[in-house]
């Protein structure tokens, strides 16, 4: 049994936040370079090259990849060997404030109605925390994700009826494709597309954010049915010609990730969640002997 103390967590929080703001995860870089190689549209190819160069410079200079720091969500997946004796939200909120003061995060958190900006990225509910208990696991995973908010403007959520699902989920596929086209250049393509299917609206929405936040974009889903759906959607989306920044090209999405859960017989909620190409996230796995290693 490992007790996660506030001291231990403070060091980890700082490392996770700093790395996620300045270093594009390796899996995202691999995809960017791969798509840049294959891109046939010259303007799109050049834009992708600029993105890669920008991410490389950010890592070298220790600067934020993008000026917009996004919105922080912390994902915790805990095995049964852990006791968390710390106010996790407080520890991460403190580290986020420190990162803001040091210029890694632009102060962009505001009151939702008055728009008053406290100037240090502090605020009610910051960071958002999602926790999942995994009694079968002996590890504790911590992932911080700063997904951009331009892409939030393009997200879609709809409760489909059984008639609208169509044969082989064709209605769901069309919904995802249309959302991507209507999003155009707004979510800073090439995007990662998160799709939450099933549950109720809140569940589909949470899944759609989670699937593009807690795993590598190069991961293949162990569930064959979902892997096939992800691959089909990715192929279709990249035939639409939206391209980097939305001005045309072969590279619209770097990955599609689907999260699927059972739902009620009357409905099929579907949430489409876009992540800009700046896959700003960092995660680590803590073993029950307190050793830890980065997962991305």
């Amino acid at each position: 049994m490992l007790c996660i103390t506030e001291d231990f967590l403070e060091g980890i929080a700082w490392e996770l936040i700093k790395k996620s703001c300045t270093q594009l995860p390796e899996d995202v870089m691999v995809l960017l370079k791969d798509f840049q190689n294959k891109e046939s549209n010259p303007s799109a190819k050049e834009l992708l090259e600029t993105m890669i160069k920008n991410a490389e410079l950010a890592a070298i200079e220790g600067k934020p990849i993008c000026q917009s720091p996004g919105y922080p969500v912390l994902y915790i997946t805990s095995g049964s060997d852990f006791i968390i004796d710390a106010d996790i939200q407080k520890v991460f909120a403190k580290a986020i404030i420190k990162a803001t003061k040091e210029g890694y995060i632009r102060p962009s958190i505001v009151h939702p109605i008055t728009r008053v900006n406290p100037g240090d990225s502090s605020g009610k509910g910051i960071p958002d925390i999602e926790m999942e208990l995994r009694p079968d696991s002996s590890k504790l995973n911590l992932v911080i994700s700063f997904k951009g908010c331009g892409c939030e403007l393009a997200n879609k959520l709809q409760v489909l009826t059984p008639a609208q699902i169509g044969e082989n989920g064709v209605g769901i596929k069309r919904f995802v494709l249309e959302a991507t086209v209507n999003a155009g250049g707004i979510p800073c393509p090439p995007v990662a597309v998160g799709v939450g299917i099933g549950g109720q609206t809140h569940y589909a929405a949470k899944l759609s954010r989670k699937v593009i936040s807690i795993q590598k974009w190069t991961d293949r889903n162990p569930d064959g049915e979902i892997a096939q759906l992800e691959n089909e959607l990715l192929q279709q989306i990249n035939k639409l010609g939206i391209g980097p920044a939305g001005i045309g090209g072969d590279t619209t999405a770097l990955t599609v990730k689907v999260g699927m859960v059972s739902t009620h017989t009357a409905i099929c909620p579907v949430a489409v969640n876009f992540h800009c190409w700046v896959g700003r996230r960092c995660g680590l796995t803590i073993e029950s002997d307190k050793s830890y290693k980065f997962i991305f």
Partner: protein
């Protein structure tokens, strides 16, 4: 692909010669404005108050920097574009009343902006999204800042641009709009795949 270098403030002729797809570099003073700076500016104009800067021939960058204070001067650490579509309601006033000639951002803008660009001879440029380290190199020098009470991202920053680019002409003064062309082609493709069934978002 042809490359055009522009000096602010822009003249009508500078903008009139630009066509979608061309690459532009900008020198001279530019302004950053997001939602709240636009709203405050419009409030001031409604009350017949003077705007804090002369926007005639101006370039407005839809952006908010990460700025750092060195001694008593502000310096850009990183800067890149925000989603321009949120500024769609302001285009008529910004281009028509203030004489702004060029909007720079990401994601493109809508019909109201397209009409204003045609009517007042303006242009919309795409700045590479998410590329904030690279763009900061040509937007280092901050001349002054207004309305810092709105917060760092939403304040009106006045910046000296030095060979800022590449920026792509995405909407020109003749009604051409790359984003719309790309979108319409894509929607047609979806129709080809699925027909008229199971519409629509």
């Amino acid at each position: 692909m042809s490359k055009v270098v522009l000096q602010t403030p822009l003249q009508k002729e500078d903008v009139a010669k630009l066509k979608v797809g061309e690459i532009v570099y900008i020198n001279g003073v530019i302004f950053t404005m997001r939602d709240l700076a636009h709203l405050r500016l419009l409030q001031k104009l409604a009350k017949n108050e003077e705007p804090p800067e002369n926007f005639f021939g101006a370039v407005i960058f839809h952006a908010g920097p990460v700025a750092k204070k060195q001694d008593s001067n502000w310096v850009t650490s990183v800067i890149g574009p925000t989603t321009s579509m949120r500024m769609e309601p302001f285009s008529e006033t910004i281009l028509g009343k203030l004489g702004v000639k060029c909007l720079v951002g990401k994601g493109g803008m809508g019909k109201k902006t397209q009409e204003a660009l045609i009517k007042y001879c303006g242009v919309y440029l795409l700045s590479p999204p998410g590329c904030a380290v690279i763009q900061a190199k040509s937007l280092q020098k901050i001349l002054r800042v207004h309305w810092l009470d709105l917060g760092m991202p939403e304040a009106l920053w006045v910046i000296q641009a030095e060979n800022w680019g590449p920026l792509t002409v995405a909407m020109d003064a003749y009604g051409n709009n790359i984003f719309e062309e790309v979108k319409n082609r894509a929607l047609n493709k979806i129709k080809q795949i699925y027909g008229e069934t199971y519409c629509s978002v």
